[in-house]
């Protein structure tokens, strides 16, 4: 072979278009949807059970209820006690997790394919037949109280909690799924039972099964495990809560707020505002915009605050696309002494990208290529495919969504990205939160022209 030409980089060729594997959808007579995908490379199966209700449906006086209910599912179910449930999970080498987010509850179980039927039956027990035993409930509640107490010392957790409240107030997105120490004491086992009855209904659930088996086998096993669950009527309180989350919160003015942590080695920062829901027609353009702004290592925010200034280990921005209007936020942890300067730089970047330094054609092409060329690696494992498929169900996306992603990104023009920057980013509306050492950061904050930082008590 010829010697290497080091005067220029090899230019990657074109990539073949990506074909997402076929998703077969069947609705069982009780209303539960079973979606199957064949993934034959490794003898593994991943089951994702999506309940389309999450922490946004928590009653106002019971923040944390959806999450606590999720925690109780594997604390005894069917004919198994709490310990027996975990013994059964361990015997099939299962990796099991329950996640409760604002819009959904997601149970993920990965196991070896030879344990597929056992995994499905176990999952069905957890969702259909949790025991909600009073002793177990008290124990779980106490563990959660301790966990919440420990989070008081974790700056990112303090920041996330305070920021959700600043942006959303009493809106269903105004609290974290884990809830609060005070609210936890108000939640009774009966609340959990009732919530489970209302939210966990066959027609609110999509079961995604991805693995080393045929569609027919996956469907048959899923039907056997979940088909006997009786249908129930939709619950008006859940429906009302879901509808409320779709509405924008009351408009809030830009604020500067601070949670004091004397002696903190860094300041944990959040800057942002309420943005748009997942259903926005501007979704793809915003994904591109965010790549340029703060969505990858070479983004403006990270290159400025980390690679240029050395203020931080890393900085990023995100649009959190939800069923209702989710937040846009910039998050970063910076050295205490540079807090004011870091905020000035961050707000400057948010302003510049929609005003004096708009996205350039080169930046757009880099972001576009980064999103499209490596696309297939997002779908290498059964779990990646299963979680992606669950997104289709959660947000009502079309069957060909993943097939269309790359062509859609490729079709966007610079004007589209400039337009969504002006439409959906607003530096004038940015709320800024600092979790850090007030005595040291205050002089720097005073020079920002954002007024005096209002003191928040760590909730």
């Amino acid at each position: 072979m010829s010697p290497v030409d080091r005067s220029r980089l090899p230019v990657p060729g074109t990539s073949p278009s990506y074909r997402f594997p076929e998703v077969r959808k069947v609705r069982l007579p009780n209303g539960l949807c079973v979606w199957t995908v064949e993934h034959r490379s490794v003898p593994v199966v991943t089951l994702v059970l999506l309940v389309g209700v999450g922490s946004a449906a928590d009653p106002a006086a019971r923040p944390g209820l959806a999450s606590l209910t999720g925690d109780m599912l594997d604390e005894g179910a069917g004919d198994r006690s709490a310990l027996e449930v975990h013994d059964a999970l361990a015997r099939i080498g299962a990796s099991f997790d329950t996640e409760v987010g604002p819009d959904a509850t997601l149970l993920t179980l990965t196991t070896l394919d030879r344990f597929r039927q056992r995994g499905l039956r176990l999952l069905a027990d957890l969702v259909l037949r949790p025991r909600f035993d009073p002793d177990e409930f008290e124990r779980v509640r106490q563990l959660r109280a301790n966990r919440l107490r420990q989070l008081r010392d974790l700056p990112p957790a303090l920041a996330d909690r305070a920021f959700a409240s600043l942006l959303y107030g009493s809106h269903p997105y105004g609290h974290l799924a884990i809830g609060s120490e005070d609210a936890l004491q108000q939640i009774a086992l009966e609340d959990v039972r009732q919530y489970h009855r209302r939210a966990y209904r066959p027609s609110a659930i999509t079961l995604v099964a991805v693995g080393d088996a045929s569609h027919e086998q996956l469907l048959a096993d899923a039907s056997e495990a979940f088909g006997h669950w009786p249908e129930s009527d939709p619950d008006p309180t859940i429906a009302e809560a879901l509808a409320r989350a779709l509405q924008p919160p009351a408009a809030a003015p830009a604020r500067l707020a601070l949670v004091d942590r004397p002696g903190a080695a860094q300041s944990e920062l959040r800057l942002g505002h309420v943005a748009v829901p997942r259903s926005t027609p501007d979704y793809h353009a915003l994904v591109l915009l965010n790549m340029v702004l703060g969505g990858q290592f070479v983004s403006r925010i990270n290159m400025n605050l980390r690679e240029g200034k050395g203020f931080t280990y890393g900085a990023r921005t995100s649009f959190d696309f939800r069923r209702g209007p989710g937040p846009f936020q910039l998050q970063v942890s910076v050295q205490t002494a540079v807090t004011g300067e870091a905020i000035r730089e961050a707000i400057g970047e948010l302003r510049a990208i929609r005003a004096e330094r708009p996205v350039t054609p080169q930046e757009l092409e880099l972001a576009r290529a980064a999103l499209t060329r490596g696309y297939p690696r997002n779908f290498e494992t059964a779990e990646q495919i299963a979680r992606s498929t669950a997104q289709l169900a959660l947000y009502g996306l079309p069957d060909n969504y993943f097939e269309r992603f790359v062509p859609t990104i490729e079709a966007l023009r610079l004007d589209d990205v400039l337009r969504v920057a002006r439409a959906h980013l607003d530096d004038e509306r940015v709320t800024t939160l600092v979790v850090g050492d007030r005595a040291i950061v205050e002089p720097g904050l005073a020079t920002l022209g954002l007024g005096v930082a209002e003191a928040l008590l760590p909730a």
Binding site: L112, L143, D153, L154, S333, A369
Partner: protein, 434 residues
């Protein structure tokens, strides 16, 4: 476990390992350098990891950020440093395979002309902020630092963590970075694994083309150090935490040595999941702890076994330590039962398979091929590795636990909320962290 591969050695000593897998149109390029914080010396701790950062700041023929062209090609990439090795990887679409080879080979062959004081100073600031974020500003963030400092003598290379001390980082210089590169970053001290959508013949020819001309460097002598703890060490650390936590640590057999897999399984029996002994006893039944964990931290020169438990409100670490000792003594006397053996083997085997679902990234097939090649010279050690677990017996677990842990000197570190020393287990002194 069918992971077919071939291994080749280039003229300059670079190991090249190839594994073909066409399921996804991607290629994993994974490069290990056999250098980590164990190659550092007191006074310059944290250097190997700081150096890893410098590898992303450009090389002679691409004197700009390393991320830019690769992200533009659709790559995912990262690197990490441990006590024993430093790894770098890219997962690229098939069409960008050569780009990844170009980039990795340029920084292996031609880093220094592009390594300036400005880059060095910037990345030192970034690393100091990484240290603040992940250690200083995090609850219990300094506990493991204090543990290894007590477990290993001051001149033992496991005495410090890879992040190093802030003072050492500030004192380090650009000249030292140049010397470090010359000593450790060369073909014969590296192993390149390529896995995914490749034709092995073509991939080997390309690897030779990009890496074959890089000059071999000086041989790197293995670091050889024994470690013992002559007597128990009992320490206290006050931290900004709500609940006290006890950290117990013992010396244990090195990675892949007799007893290593057994202790990995012992850690499962003790603390993996709600059916584990410590969880059941301390968290579930007696409710004196809110969480427990146990690890066999397998390393080249010698491992350490850790048990960590957080006290429930109103409970003391002395109470927890006694309860842990009782559970461990029972296990060392009776051994695990057949249910425990079945569960821990099923979990070990499943985790093995799960890790091999990806060609690249941390823990994927290319990373594992390199791990086996770097540490034992056998890239295809998968089956033998799994056999260590399958062949483990209840009696083996029992006797390994009895030999290495129970009654052996250990470090016991109490981390308590500031001003609440009464919650600590008995201690002889305060932990020192740099």
């Amino acid at each position: 476990m069918d992971i077919p591969f071939t291994r080749h050695t280039l003229g300059n000593g670079l190991s090249v390992i190839l594994h073909e897998d066409h399921d996804c149109p991607i290629v994993a390029v994974n490069l290990w350098y056999h250098v980590g914080s164990k190659n550092e010396v007191p006074g310059r701790t944290g250097f190997a990891h700081l150096f890893e950062h410098l590898m992303f700041e450009g090389s002679a023929h691409h004197d700009r950020g390393y991320f830019h062209p690769l992200q533009e090609a659709g790559a995912l990439l990262n690197g990490s440093t441990s006590s024993d090795r430093t790894n770098y990887w890219e997962v690229v679409p098939t069409s960008a395979f050569e780009l990844a080879l170009w980039m990795e080979s340029d920084r292996m062959g031609f880093l220094l002309p592009a390594l300036t004081a400005a880059k060095f100073n910037n990345q030192r600031d970034v690393v100091l902020n990484e240290r603040r974020q992940n250690y200083e500003n995090r609850p219990y963030g300094l506990a493991t630092m204090a543990t290894v400092a007590a477990l290993y003598a001051p001149d033992h290379p496991y005495h410090w963590l890879t992040i190093g001390s802030a003072d050492d980082l500030r004192a380090s210089s650009l000249e030292e970075a140049h010397a470090f590169f010359a000593r450790y970053y060369h073909p014969a001290n590296a192993s390149l694994a390529i896995a995914g959508d490749i034709e092995p013949d073509v991939a080997l020819a390309l690897a030779d083309r990009y890496f074959g001309d890089i000059a071999p460097g000086p041989p790197v002598a293995p670091v050889l150090r024994d470690a013992t703890l002559p007597a128990p060490v009992r320490l206290l650390q006050e931290d900004r935490v709500e609940l006290p936590r006890v950290y117990l640590a013992w010396h244990s057999p090195a990675m892949f040595k007799a007893g290593d897999a057994e202790l990995d399984l012992v850690s499962d029996v003790l603390a993996n999941g709600k059916t584990s002994r410590l969880y059941r006893a301390l968290v579930y039944s007696r409710r004196i702890a809110t969480e427990v964990a146990a690890f066999q931290n397998s390393r080249e020169l010698g491992s350490f076994f850790q048990v960590i438990a957080t006290a429930a409100p109103g409970r003391t670490l002395a109470e927890l330590e006694t309860a842990i000792d009782e559970e461990m003594a029972t296990l060392a006397a009776e051994g695990p039962d057949s249910d425990e053996m079945e569960r821990s083997l099923a979990q070990a085997e499943a985790q093995f398979v799960y890790r091999l679902q990806t060609v690249g990234g941390f823990g994927g097939k290319s990373d594992q091929l390199n791990a086996y090649n770097t540490f034992i010279g056998q890239p295809g050690f998968f089956d033998q590795d799994l056999a260590r677990y399958r062949n483990a017996t209840a009696e083996g677990l029992r006797s390994t636990l009895a030999t290495y842990l129970c009654g052996q000197p250990r470090v016991s570190l109490s981390v308590v909320p500031k001003g609440q020393i009464e919650l600590a287990a008995p201690f002889d002194g305060r932990a020192v962290v740099q």
